[in-house]
Symmetry: D3
Subunit: 249 residues, 6 copies
């Protein structure tokens, strides 16, 4: 596959067309409907003054996240977790990853005793939903923080947001390292890696999994190279989306 | 309020601008993103050959529905039912209403041993989410049935869909009967009624509730008049949306 | 069926024999064992000074209701909801209906910061359990309020109970509108309507459902006529039951 | 307290007035509403041909039991287990005890591949609800087995019911062994024992618990004497109740 | 079987080799890994200053217990209760028994407003896990109380532990009363009795169950004789284990 | 800290003393009690012929894992997930990681239609419980596969186990990369990475998380170096443990 293009015509290092509809929701303090090709995730950030009881009086804020998929976001309908009465392991895992990734760029002391809850609801899934969630959630988060400043809940000069954060899924398919796997690529990947990158190239999270055979260190290195390059592109798209009224900094 | 207009400038009998984005989902066999003003609901219809065990061999199909609200579809964030571990009474009630309303226009014998699951997920709520769900779900259902015919799961000549169905919420605010209540009207309504109408004016469901004082029969009559008129308008909008390739009849 | 009588010999407008054993429970502040023919529901009203945290300091009371069926109240045993670990949609729906119906005749400000929980447990079911519940619960509620006054929790002159409330199920069977459907009639009904009526004829709740074909406005009107007449009879039976020591007003 | 009488005037060895309304339910194959003083339990026995999957083809039947208390059967209202979403330890414990006690007198081979589910629902509680449940459930069980024979599900000559079974709670209050504790006695008992007795005096279950100080063997012996005498009385009451049309043997 | 020995060569009155590894856990304030032959239970006692809200300000402490089996402690793997989402009746029953048994020898007033939670986790099961749990838990409890004194949470002179407590399972197999049933004996027992004994022979709990035919009073007496003798042996083993640095009294 | 040793005297690259008690359980087909210093995990492997319904007839086996912590394995007692009624995100995450790691070295086709369930129960926790679980589980798995061959469930010549697998946690504390973090190190780590390694150095899983500031690529590289070296040591310890009767290969 080395010299041929991918099913959708992309080169190995090319990400899908990414669009970010900032402010999609009239209700949330920050929101973005992000698309990576056919993958679409609605990210909202809900700002509430105050923190949970166990954090009160400590002078720090709280950022947490919840991820979920609509039942028919997938090719076959999946049962709702509310109907099952329990949240599955995958959902838990991804919610925790999104929360950690965003907290890595938030200065919770500068945020003050305020809570931001991020919701990432996958409306349509075509691979890379967790990395799209992180990338879109950053935009919603930035707007919610800006809202908190505008409302006086956060001091105007506080730098609650220390850096940007974006994420991409990379993997090896038929021996070739590819960036931003679509679903058809993801299911065929021998190795699958989700990489969360802050600012200009520091790692927040690296999660690599051998789906088939274990992978070699050289493969790991190639995937990290791809991820860093794509994350830099996503950072630009986030900046562009935030370049309008209402964004912080 | 008798002679003044409503907060958004509508006359008492006027419904909000309604848009129906048919085929919004690439995954579902039928889908529609319906908006009643700021209320937006994503309706998908998932078609599966076969029926649940308790219906097998009886020659009839099954149509059911699930309703849910995204946590930040509302003005304040509400906790996910998957996180609570149980589905609330309101959600149950609405899911059952949607299911009954759609089954009222389906000939399950003509549908054959096939199952259609309707999902109505509220992306943004501004009153009337259950009636918007029914109105949008009808479009998704019609397309899923058309898909089932195109795939040969339903005989081409079977009339699985007997009629159209649409729904509207009506209520009395400050003594004036109004159609299609927005959220700010809904919370002030003395009487609130959801009316589901098939075809050209037969009732599928009438649910009237006194929110404040009990209501008189003359008030009930006035509300039914409004509902029938608005349902006829919605029926036209559904027809227009379905007037393209892929729709049944 | 127009000129013939019903299976149990009743005329279309005739309700079943109704008995109300007021004060059945030694434990509850108010109680009634109500029978509509073979349908028997034990209604208790538990009075507790104080209100839930979210109502404290607002000067208003709280009335809520829970409905449940004993597992063998029905013709075939049904599994307990406690064993399933979740409450079903039908139970939720009916509990909410009973609560709304009673709150419609309570002045929660006059009730003061007191809570009344109504429990309606169906001991034997033969159709109309939700409407029997409302009708019996009113009697239990009246006694619990009287108890609250006798104990000094409610001022003696407060009119916490604004009106009476009763409910009846009506429906169309073989084209004939019938009042107070027994189970064998209920399963055959084309249209089924539960009507909750306050005092001398104001509607608290109207819930009509097309079980088979959608129904016409003339049918709706005929059913409402029947319901109002039957509700007036039930109101008399409630008054008679409450005409003894211990009742309010 | 040795020579004085008890709060309700009984002698130490005297049980409360016991009434058994056999056939209370029109729905169940066997039923009894049993009262021990103010304690009232509705016991139903549901007969179903066939057994659970794990017993199929083994030629033996299955008897199981479920116990529950109505929320306001007690002096203060207790939350429903269906609302809590889980069954408490006490309920589990008592349900298991009732089931074991009944199985001890059933020949499951003679019962054949049939299932009997016993439901014991406490309508009003004043101590001894678990022992009243067992005593009443025996009557319901006997009738359900008779029904199974009449319907031909059990061979007419099979002795599915090997013996009778009854239960009583005994305890030591102020140093005096008492039979059939009422609630006010139960809460003051130093030692509390539930004894289940088959036929003329064989033990099915002996459950003695030191509520305060551990108890001596002589105390245990005195309690067992009381229990055997009371169980013999209960056996007579069961026989009288079953001495009418419809009872087995 | 009267004159022959048991499968593992024991005489009827002989208990299995019992070992108590006191202080097995580095984390808990008191702990013991107890073995009765192949049955192994890890008992920990967690001491926390303070009591649950409903006990605050009453000057008494709280002791409670939880029992659980590892999924492969049994011959066939059993599903985790955390995975099922609910705790079974048997687990509830045993947890409650352990808690009651320990509270019988604790003076909760002398304990002061402190909480001790006992955890008994069965690592390997070969019969008698609940009685081994009680016997081992006593050692863990004694050390936790000693810890509380050493830390100053309990006054040095308070006698929070009034007595020792031990438990044994006894039963009748092939007509012969046996002490300390191993699993292979337990499944064959006609009668099974768990006996909890305080100090030198007072009963805390007696739970006898007819597994096959009901049992006679003489059999009950023989089992109690066996249980008292074995409990005295266990008391000695507990004393020996506690005869080192760190034990109370 | 650069030149000083660690709290327990280890050098940065040194792992804690590791012991593997193979065959600890008499019940399980394979088992190991593994210790990394004070961290102790009981790993059992349960072999069952047959596979879940969704895999039947496909000729492949199934390996899955469940992880859990005893409530007092930790410094402060944590509530049981069975009592909470739901499994937490962390537990889900780790169970899935263990399962994936083991499946990476199993040839499920060679395993045939057999199921192996791995249980890793943490008896005592002092950091690195998930990596200790994987390392110990490999030994239990190897023995369960050997058992399956000895019993004839797996053909004697099948190579169901393709390679060994071991895991270690590494992290950066005070700027120094350390191997096998103890709990006190783990809570202070700026970056924490769990690395699962197959055979002689291929990656199965790499999970790196920035706990404080994002980490640079050079740090990532240093941690991977450490992990590979430690994994090689663990592989030798696994081999030694399996070098006795009963092990495969």
């Amino acid at each position: 596959m080395n010299e041929t293009t991918r099913a959708d015509g992309r080169t190995p290092a090319e990400i899908r067309p990414v669009t970010i509809e900032r402010g999609w929701s009239r209700q949330a303090e920050g929101s973005a409907l992000i698309s990576f090709g056919e993958t679409r995730v609605l990210c909202t950030a809900s700002f509430t003054p105050g923190v949970p009881p166990w954090l009160r009086g400590k002078g720090t804020g709280w950022v947490t996240a919840e991820y979920s998929m609509l039942p028919r976001s997938t090719n076959e309908r999946t049962q709702r977790e509310s109907v099952k009465g329990r949240i599955g392991g995958r959902t838990h895992e991804i919610s925790r990853l999104i929360g950690r990734s965003l907290r890595a760029v938030v200065d919770t002391r500068a945020l003050g005793e305020n809570t931001i809850v991020i919701d990432c609801d996958v409306l349509q899934a075509d691979g890379g939903t967790r990395t799209a969630s992180i990338t879109g959630a950053y935009v919603a988060l930035a707007d919610a923080i800006a809202w908190g400043k505008a409302q006086g809940h956060i001091p105007a000069k506080a730098t609650a947001l220390k850096d940007s954060v974006a994420a991409v899924s990379v993997g090896i398919v038929d021996g070739v390292p590819l960036s931003d796997l679509a679903y058809v690529e993801d299911v065929r990947a021998e190795t699958d890696m989700n990489v969360v990158v802050a600012g200009l190239g520091a790692f927040v999270e690296v999660q690599g999994t051998a789906e088939g055979a274990p992978f070699a260190r050289t493969e790991l290195d190639a995937l990290l190279d791809l991820a860093l390059a794509s994350a830099a592109e996503l950072r630009e798209l986030q900046r562009t989306a935030l370049d309008g009224p209402g964004a912080e900094a």
